[in-house]
Symmetry: C2
DNA sequence: ATTATATCGTGAAATGTATCACGATATAAA
DNA sequence: TTTATATCGTGATACATTTCACGATATAAT
């Protein structure tokens, strides 16, 4: 029958109800975007953001923005909007970005190296403890601030730093096997860049960052658009 | 008010109804995954794939898989499943992967270089015509099979090869401006890796590959999981 | 002080998506 | 040949998410 991993039984009465137990997936994605937008708005000196401006930036309905905000306890003022600071603080708390998150990175190829060198994720509390590769030719090479370590060191790093998150940037063939291994070592969340949908035990969090799906989606819409144009031209 | 870009009025009577005019977004994402899975299954020598196996790989309901297949005209056989070949062919047709797609890549930094060197997108019909960067220090350097060109050559490449797709891997500050410029030059689809939601005129296709959102999502779920565990421990 | 209005907040309705329940059918087994 | 069964196909139903409609309120203008 197959129960969705991590499915939640929401006990009816729950005095300690915390808002983020239950945020719908689409809403969560938007919340993360509000956060990004609020940070940039703050940098530009805007102290407030209205549901209308947010809705225009993201191309969604303004009511939806207000519902999202209400759902996480961000309150706005009529004629003013939401406080940029409150959006940032509340969302960082809810998204879990206010605490540091330690991670290991596996696979220092093209994508892995780009991620290692990218400073942007520090704002999300991400701290990459160490980077690993199976290729001995890469071991001991430097990438950004890191020196690539051999896989046999991975186990002890995970244990020592109690790492709960792995960034997986290895070839597709190795990804599932690697994921299984990481889970056995105590990793609880995997950010996967290989173009396969990883299967993990219930309770383990996976985010499959399958770029090829994005490309397929883009091409599909492009073709559809062009078809319509031709179609229109023929018809009228 | 705000009308969603590219919104479609589906004329009631339409003899030339083509399946891919109307595929729901979640369904489209799954279809692209079926395609990936079918390709790997084919390489492993499996001639058939059942809705059950697909549903287990992706963690979705098996009925959903059958509905998806039916929606694009892929028909299966009782007790056998769907033909791997039919899945691949039909989905490549529908996703538009059977035709070549020319693209330019803007911004040859960490992500841009990784994309340039990655061979995997060729299977999706993607052909990167040329890669550009604004940094003169990078111009003329090689990345994989490419030599980085200066931005001033971009216009003529787009015109000459009638490029309709741009891969945008520039810093967030430059992304919207760059997108506007590309649209003015005739680009119809943008695959954006900068962590902002690009705004484009109706009729232009954008896919925002906002990796930071993925990270935020992952961290959120990890925290939620851990909270639940603690919560459970305290309660029982 | 009064009025106007931009904006928030929210229940109700509409829409979109997934699941259930069950009949049909092709293959394998008896 | 007959029976059993794994799997497909699909209408009906349930669930999730968005949009609509409208009242409430804080600020700015008069
Ligand atoms: N580069 C891209 O643009 C891109 C795009 C989409 C998807 N991906 C996917 O991302 C993943 C990485 O891509 P890439 O371009 O960086 O590939 P890559 O070949 O450049 O790097 C992969 C790295 O993983 C290492 N590796 C292989 N097996 C390993 C193992 N078992 N344990 C540890 N390390 C191992 C290799 O030595 C190599 O350094 C692949 O699954 C690829 O399909 C990449
Ligand atoms: N590297 C990552 O892991 C990562 C992760 C998430 C998001 N991103 C985003 O992807 C984008 C690229 O990231 P990166 O790590 O490759 O950055 P990077 O700084 O390594 O590369 C950016 C490249 O763009 C070029 N550039 C700058 N302005 C330009 C312009 N106007 N026209 C053309 N080229 C220009 C720069 O010269 C540089 O080569 C950024 O928006 C970043 O936020 C990167």
């Amino acid at each position: 029958m197959m129960r969705k991993a991590g499915a939640k039984r929401v006990s009816g009465e729950d005095r300690t109800r915390i808002p983020w137990s239950n945020i719908p997936k689409p809403s969560l994605e938007r919340l993360a975007q509000y956060h990004q937008i609020a940070i940039r708005a703050g940098e530009d000196g805007n102290e407030n953001l209205s549901s209308v401006s947010l809705s225009e930036i993201l191309g969604v309905d303004e009511t939806l923005v207000r519902k999202d905000m209400a759902s996480v306890g961000i309150v706005g003022k009529p004629r003013v909007g939401y406080s940029t600071g409150q959006i940032i603080n509340k969302l960082e708390e809810i998204l879990g970005l206010s605490q540091h998150t330690d991670a290991v990175l596996i696979g220092c190829g093209g994508i892995g190296s780009a991620l290692l060198r990218y400073p942007g994720f520090r704002k999300y509390g991400l701290r990459i403890s160490a980077a690993f590769d199976a290729d001995f030719a890469k071991v001991n090479q430097r990438v950004g601030d890191y020196v690539i370590l051999p896989m046999e060191k991975c186990r002890s790093v995970i244990n020592t730093f109690r790492v709960k998150v792995a960034i997986l940037a290895v070839p597709a063939d190795a990804a599932q096997e690697m994921a299984d291994w990481l889970v056995r070592r105590g990793v609880q969340a995997i950010w996967n860049f290989a173009p396969i949908h990883l299967r993990v035990p219930a309770g383990i969090v996976v985010r499959n960052e399958n770029l090829a799906l994005g490309l397929a989606d883009l091409i599909h819409h492009l073709r559809r658009n062009n078809m319509e144009k031709e179609d229109g031209a023929r018809t009228r």
